[in-house]
Symmetry: C2
Amino acid sequence: MNHHKEVTIYDIAKTLNISAATVSRGLKDHPAISKNTKKRIIEAAKAMGYRSNTFASNLRRQRTNTIGIIVPRLNSTFMSDVIAGMEKIVNDAGYNLIISQSLESVEKEIKNAATMFNNRVDGLLVSLAYNTENINHFSQFIKKGIPLIFFDRVYEHPACPTIVINNYKAGYEITSHLIEQGCKDIMHISGSQLRNVYLQRCKGYKDALADHGIPFKNNNLIINNLSATEATQTAHQILSMPDRPDGIFAANDTCAVSCMIELRKHGVRIPDDIAFAGFNNDPISQIVEPNLTTVDYKGNEMGAVAARTLIGHLNGNFDFLLTNTLMLRHELIIRESSLKKEMFYEQ
Amino acid sequence: MNHHKEVTIYDIAKTLNISAATVSRGLKDHPAISKNTKKRIIEAAKAMGYRSNTFASNLRRQRTNTIGIIVPRLNSTFMSDVIAGMEKIVNDAGYNLIISQSLESVEKEIKNAATMFNNRVDGLLVSLAYNTENINHFSQFIKKGIPLIFFDRVYEHPACPTIVINNYKAGYEITSHLIEQGCKDIMHISGSQLRNVYLQRCKGYKDALADHGIPFKNNNLIINNLSATEATQTAHQILSMPDRPDGIFAANDTCAVSCMIELRKHGVRIPDDIAFAGFNNDPISQIVEPNLTTVDYKGNEMGAVAARTLIGHLNGNFDFLLTNTLMLRHELIIRESSLKKEMFYEQ
DNA sequence: AGTTCAATCGCAATCGGTTGCATAAAGAAA
DNA sequence: TTTCTTTATGCAACCGATTGCGATTGAACT
């Protein structure tokens, strides 16, 4: 029952008594085909229920019209937005999308890259897994001249444009905010320093301390995987500290929230004893009590920009090589978890 | 720089002085090729950096080896798990995946379906958008005999297997639980009754009431889109009711949480004044205070089962036609938001 | 009438695997 | 040695769209 035969350009050609070449050109709006013939072709195609065979076309043109995406996870509002943003641009440009998640593991990332390569994607958009140390698994793309663009969790490589926010500045701002609120002993919970996002936020944190004359203490920098589980462990670590910090800046909201909740369970008052700040503006940041101060940035935009850059390249627009890094804006969102001073009220 | 020419089976054939047909068969582990020749072919292929051209293969075999997925959104732990589950099965079976989100809109769902159709997916896995009323946009697949499987948010059609949980039973159980906790006036917040998941949970709710001798009140059934925004509005609606309910069962956690938070802001005590229950076991259900009673079910499993069913069909295994509906297990997770009785303590 | 030129359109090769059928080689049975 | 099977491999025709190049046609121009 599966084999209703598809109509091809040859069928259309036969019906109209013209050649398949003309049909092909007509369908593609080729200038050498007369207005009238084009109309007849298009009408016949519709009437006969023709649909182009992508594979024949791809085979002949040596292009797949497909773009690959590899992300750590799909289950965040942020990533979902990123992908929605990419989808729109990419579809409008007539490309298709293959999406896969590395689930934060290099091994899976390598497999995914191989799959993408074998599927001959025309270009690749990547946000790196937690523990990826090098991009050897992507070198096959670079060697073949297949455009590779990193976003958010990027890797600096002369051949690869990157789309990011100013993580350094955001880290600096949020730390400065905590200092302004009166914190003098601020802890930072960060993730793998292999990832630019965490490394830069951490640098911003350190520089903000320095610029405000606060010495950096090694004990105040904790690196974990930023999961809820490890955040809870970190909370216990903090509880057992002789002098607890009076402010905590966690590199993502999941970590901030779980840590904060655990501390509260053990009698720590937020923000009075410890002020809190996270990163990402996840929905949970507005649900947890007290609401979490955080940094917001637009996934939709980042996805759209990344996709546009890639498609620009595929169309032979090499401008972006000059601007190797595209930096998008972010916004500090101040909520109760960090408001120690009574003077700040919103009506 | 893009045009390092690819090595083909013809290149391998020439190198080994055999025919391309033999190379093709050797690579596919065809039984008619001798052990020795196979080894030589595989080694040569690796040495020469050969990669199969999917398009040539697809064109000839009239199959794409691609499976399409259409979901409402990607940004939930549940959907992310579902897709991870599908990915594993599907990759292991040698298929590729095209994923797209309808963003809860029929229009986008229709577009996505068209894209999938034009890409000639071998099969399709679908969870319907919020307001989809019919599946005309999928009839093209059914007509062509392309297997179509619905999961979670399904549509009953003789040609389409469905993968679900027992939403009716879950709704019944959670309502019964609220009743056992002493609730006598239970409200249910549900979503579009076009979607089985909400309709069935609602039926379970009604039947549980009836079986416990509690009359159903029309005012106690509220239908909204289950978003945070509308949940907050619903909260205000509840605040203005002359007799407020003493228990609320919301059809998802997002709605339950937002509604609960808004009520608390206005002095409603949870669970004492109003007991709360949600659905899905989202991460927020463990973050909100008090922790939310909810229903858990495994996305990974659902994804894997759906994918396995589809691939079974593609391989000509028609068994599943007998079992048109596959029902997976779920679990009631009781937390503080619904524990009115003091007798329940966990150490 | 003879030429020129632009507008249209067709021929046929090509992209790289796949597969039914024929063939060849090697071993088994007679 | 002859004949019948197996076992391995090659031939060549696909799959359907694309495109360089050449052919045709009719109109415009000398």
